[in-house]
C-alpha cells in the first residue's frame, strides 16, 4: 500500500518519536509513506484564531501539493493537522468560488480531491484481520486507556470519524492485539492541546484530570494518536506530579507503539526509549 504522507511540524520537531514509531510500524505492515514534497504548516490554532482565510489557505496549499503528487489519500498523523486539512478539503470540494479564490492565493490549482486520513483509519484500512495475522507478541500486560482527545472525533460533521462521544476504534485495534482496554470517563476530554507554552496551568490542570481518571479506572498505560496529547501527558507529567503533589508514573504510548510492539518490534525501534515517563 502506497499512501501520501503529511507529517506536520510536530512530527519533524520534538515529537519525531511519533514519526519514528509510525514509520517502523507501518513499514512492517508493508505500507509505504510518501512524504508530500514542500509541505507547509497547516496553521493550527494560531491561524484559525487570528485569520480565517489563512486557516483555509495553508491547508489548501498542502492539498494542492498532494493532488499534484497524485495522491488520492494522505495520512496526517496529527489530529490538529488532519482536522484543518479535512475542513479545507470539504469546503473546497463543495464550493467552486472558494476553489478559484484559493488556487489564486496558494499559486497552485486545488480541487479538494485528496482524502485525509488519521492514523487509526490507516490501521482500519490495513484491516484487523491482517493485524491479527501479523501478531507476534500479544499485548497481554496492557490495561490500556484509549485516549482520543478532542480533534480525532471533533467537530463530528467535519472529521466524520467514529462516534464523537463514545468512540471505539482504538479499543477495537488494541483488543484485536490482545490488550485489555479500560472503560473510563475522559476519553474525549481535551488535554489543552497547543497551549503548553502559552497557558501552562491550563494544560497541567486538564492533563492531571485525564491521568487521574485513567488510573482510577485501572489503566496501566494511556494510548494516544496525537503529538500534542503525548507532549502534555508524557513530557509534562513530571510538572503535573510536582504541581499536584502526586505520583502518576503513567506510561503514554502512541497507537503505533503498541501496534508495533504487538508485531514484535523492539521498543528502541519505535522510539519508546525517547519518552519521558518509562515503565515502572
Amino acid at each position: 500500500m502506497n499512501i501520501g504522507y503529511y507529517p506536520g511540524c510536530a512530527l519533524h520537531g520534538s515529537s519525531d518519536d511519533y514519526e519514528e514509531s509510525l514509520r517502523a510500524c507501518l513499514n512492517t505492515l508493508d505500507v509505504q509513506l510518501q512524504e508530500i514534497d514542500e509541505w507547509i504548516c497547516c496553521g493550527a490554532t494560531a491561524a484559525h484564531s487570528l485569520n480565517q482565510k489563512l486557516s483555509t489557505a495553508l491547508p489548501a496549499r498542502n492539498l494542492a501539493l498532494a493532488e499534484r503528487g497524485g495522491f488520492g489519500e494522505m495520512l496526517a498523523p496529527c489530529p490538529m493537522c488532519s482536522m484543518q486539512l479535512i475542513k479545507a478539503q470539504r469546503a473546497l470540494a463543495e464550493n467552486e468560488g472558494l476553489r478559484r479564490e484559493m488556487s489564486g492565493i496558494v499559486e497552485l490549482e486545488v480541487r479538494g480531491t485528496t482524502r485525509v486520513l488519521n492514523l487509526i483509519q490507516v490501521f482500519e484500512q490495513i484491516g484487523l484481520d491482517r493485524l491479527k495475522a501479523a501478531l507476534k507478541s500479544p499485548l497481554k500486560s496492557l490495561s490500556a486507556a484509549c485516549y482520543y482527545g478532542c480533534l480525532l472525533t471533533r467537530p463530528p460533521d467535519v472529521v466524520e470519524f467514529d462516534d464523537c462521544e463514545q468512540p471505539r476504534s482504538m479499543e477495537a485495534i488494541l483488543t484485536a492485539l490482545g490488550a485489555k482496554t479500560v472503560d473510563w470517563s475522559y476519553r474525549t476530554e481535551c488535554c489543552g492541546g497547543g497551549m503548553t507554552l502559552a497557558s501552562e496551568e491550563t494544560v497541567l490542570d486538564l492533563s492531571h484530570k485525564i491521568l487521574s481518571n485513567a488510573a482510577a479506572h485501572g489503566a496501566n498505560c494511556l494510548v494516544v494518536a496525537c503529538p500534542m496529547c503525548h507532549v502534555n501527558l508524557d513530557m509534562k507529567q513530571p510538572d503535573i506530579e510536582h504541581r499536584y503533589g502526586v505520583r502518576h508514573g503513567m506510561v503514554i504510548y502512541y497507537l503505533s507503539d503498541v501496534v508495533g510492539m504487538a508485531l514484535g518490534l523492539p521498543e528502541s525501534a519505535l522510539g519508546i526509549n525517547r519518552h519521558f515517563v518509562g515503565k515502572a
Binding site: C9, C41, S49, L54, R154, G192, M195, L197, T202
Partner: protein, 153 residues
C-alpha cells in the same frame, strides 16, 4: 474547559444575541478557549460556538481589546504565525525564543523568561532538541500567501 472560564461559550452567544459585543470581546474566555470543539459539538441548537470563538479572537486582536491577563496567549499565536510565514514549517526553538521575548516585553517577568530552560538538556538526552527546523525550499510563496490572506480589501 468551560468550568474555568469567566464567561462560558453559551453565555458568550447570549451576549452576542443581545447585541452586547463589547462584553463578549472583552471576555477572558475567548483566549482561555483551547479550541477543543466540545461546545460546538454538544450545543443542542447546533450553534458553531467554536467558530464564533475564532471570530471573536480575530476581532479582539484587530481592535486591540485583548485583556492584559490573556495577552500572552495572543502573543504566542502571533509568534507562531510569524514563524510559519518566515520558515514555512514551525521552527520550535525559534518560536520559544520569540514567544519568551515577546512575553517578557509584555509583563517583564524573569521567572517566565527562563522557566523552561531546564527542559533543554532533557529534550537533548532524548534526541528531541533540534537546533534548526527543516525549512521549505520556496519560502517566498509563504510571504505571498500570507499577504493575500491578510488583505482585507
Amino acid at each position: 474547559m468551560a468550568a474555568q472560564m469567566d464567561i462560558a461559550p453559551n453565555r458568550l452567544i447570549r451576549l452576542l444575541q443581545l447585541g452586547r459585543e463589547r462584553e463578549a470581546l472583552n471576555a477572558q474566555s475567548i483566549w482561555q478557549c483551547v479550541s477543543c470543539q466540545t461546545c460546538a459539538t454538544r450545543c443542542p441548537k447546533s450553534v458553531n460556538c467554536a467558530g464564533i470563538m475564532d471570530a471573536l479572537r480575530q476581532l479582539s486582536m484587530e481592535e486591540g481589546r485583548v485583556s492584559p491577563a490573556q495577552r500572552r496567549v495572543m502573543l504566542f499565536q502571533k509568534a507562531f504565525l510569524d514563524n510559519i510565514r518566515r520558515n514555512g514549517r514551525l521552527d520550535e526553538l525559534e518560536l520559544i525564543v520569540q514567544f519568551k521575548l515577546a512575553g517578557f516585553m509584555h509583563d517583564r517577568r524573569f521567572s517566565l523568561l527562563f522557566k523552561d530552560a531546564t527542559l533543554a538538556p532533557k529534550l537533548n538526552k532524548r534526541k528531541k532538541l533540534h537546533l534548526r527546523g527543516k525549512k521549505v525550499r520556496d519560502r517566498a510563496v509563504l510571504r505571498r500567501i500570507f499577504a493575500r490572506s491578510m488583505d482585507h480589501s
